[in-house]
Amino acid sequence: MPKKINLSLIITLVVLVFLYLPIMTVVGLSFNTSSNSLIWKGFGFDWYQNIWTNEPIISSFQRTIFVALVTTFFSLLIGTTISIGLNKMKAGGFLRTFSTAPAIVPDLVLAIGLLTTFSTISLSLNLRTVIISHTVFCTAFVVAIVLARIGLMDPSIEEASTDLGAGPFKTLFKVTIPQLMPALIAGAVLSFTLSMDEFVIAFFTNGPETPTLPMVIYSMIRFGVTPEINVLGTLLLAISFVGVILAQRIGKVADSI
């Protein structure tokens, strides 16, 4: 089938250019020394040095990392508990779908749902509400991943552990959790990345005094193309790329354990 392969080869190459040209343009422009980022003046790291002294960016970055860490902790805790529970209960399709619903519902709908909930119980909007919201959102992903892994587990191993005299806690920590490790790591990496990049939910459930990094980027982008965003975009790209590669490596190592 030589002819068809050629056509799909061309389309594949076009797709790769389509996917990489825009972000590579941003990366290229981030090394521009000009203050008008669309006019090339020279190669340099001027704006990279500049970014470390940009207070709103640095403090929002710290807030974002903080939110992502706390969110990951709670999502993992709640998500794993729900998954083990659902598995023990032999819960049917409805409960499973129900627990993963926040991952399927459009983020905008989830965001306004959370916003109205917070306002109903008069919770003021700040980082705490963002953490709660992100936990609701990320827990769903953790449940989806951990449930898939539990499905592959052989229940007779847990039974064997109980028969041999291990208490329920010992079985949980010595048998169940080690078997779930790859799923737990994947869930943690996913929760952290999702929370760090999340904009729509944070936009609705955060207060004005404590913007997260995506919120700061959003307000910057609205003013058009600036050198700061080129640099920030490049740094975020680098972080994501390293993160994906790390996750792959960890996944491989965890799978081989």
Partner: protein, 253 residues
């Protein structure tokens, strides 16, 4: 149970108005109906465009050696893991009147005046296709990859042309993947308010923009929730349709 409260609370907003259906009749005003239709059109165009370039890509990848399959799939997912605001912003840079594409076209003498590409529906569609294309390629690739290679080869050996074996073997067998891809692209496109605002420049208003404006600008939460409900309903109908069709396809196959 937290989830339930979230979903039900979303429906009628945080204000204690007597329950009535005024908001729904308000929502059928022609201007809002237009926004809903426009959103369906843009999200639909995004899904179709993604399918048109995503299917051949998935097909090509599924026929490579195992090693190259993994390399290309990672290459396609990688941009997806980047912040979506940064990816949207990248198109702001490209499509700008002073942007790379216009400069390039002017330098090779194709045009004298910059083409107005930014702030059009076209820019919104291209931007969203860029954002969600990996979500189209992955499920189709997963479906194609599972097809027994012998089937397509058998069709070819039995005298089917390449195009015919594609049409009668690969496409029907990949149908569940295609449907999932269409949903994966359509769903986030329909509710998106950032891309229409940044690349559409406020000229392209979608359901997401209406919801956002009702909540944050007009402060009419119940009315905003009405649109969110309409959005959810459209998506629920589509997803049920998708699972129905893909069950039918599976029975036939």
């Amino acid at each position: 149970m937290l989830f339930m409260s979230v979903l039900t609370a979303g429906r009628f907003g945080g204000v204690n108005t007597p329950i009535n259906f005024d908001n729904f009749s308000r929502a059928t005003d022609s201007i809002f109906v237009q926004v809903i239709l426009n959103s369906l059109l843009i999200a639909g165009a995004t899904a179709i465009l993604s399918l048109l370039i995503g299917f051949p890509t998935a097909l090509f990848i599924s026929r490579l050696s195992r090693k190259w399959q993994i390399i290309l799939i990672v290459a396609i997912i990688l941009p997806y893991w980047t912040n979506f605001l940064v990816r949207t912003y990248a198109w702001l840079v490209l499509l700008n009147n002073e942007g790379i594409i216009n400069k390039f076209l002017r330098n090779i003498g194709l045009i004298d005046k910059p083409i107005e590409m930014l702030y059009t529906s076209g820019a919104v569609i291209v931007g969203m296709t860029y954002l969600y294309l990996p979500l189209m390629i992955l499920p189709i690739y997963a479906a194609l990859e599972k097809i027994d290679k012998n089937l397509t080869e058998a069709a070819y050996d039995l005298g089917s042309s390449a195009w015919k074996s594609l049409r009668t073997v690969s496409i029907p067998l990949a149908m569940p993947g295609i449907l999932i891809g269409l949903i994966f692209v359509f769903v986030p496109s329909l509710g998106n308010f950032v891309v229409p605002e940044l690349l559409g420049g406020g000229k392209t208003v979608m359901i997401g923009n209406l919801v956002r404006d009702q909540f944050l600008k007009a402060r009419d939460w119940p009315f905003g929730a009405t649109f969110a409900l309409i959005l959810t309903l459209i998506l629920v109908i589509l997803i049920s349709l998708q699972s129905y069709v893909s069950k039918r396809v599976n029975i036939n196959a």
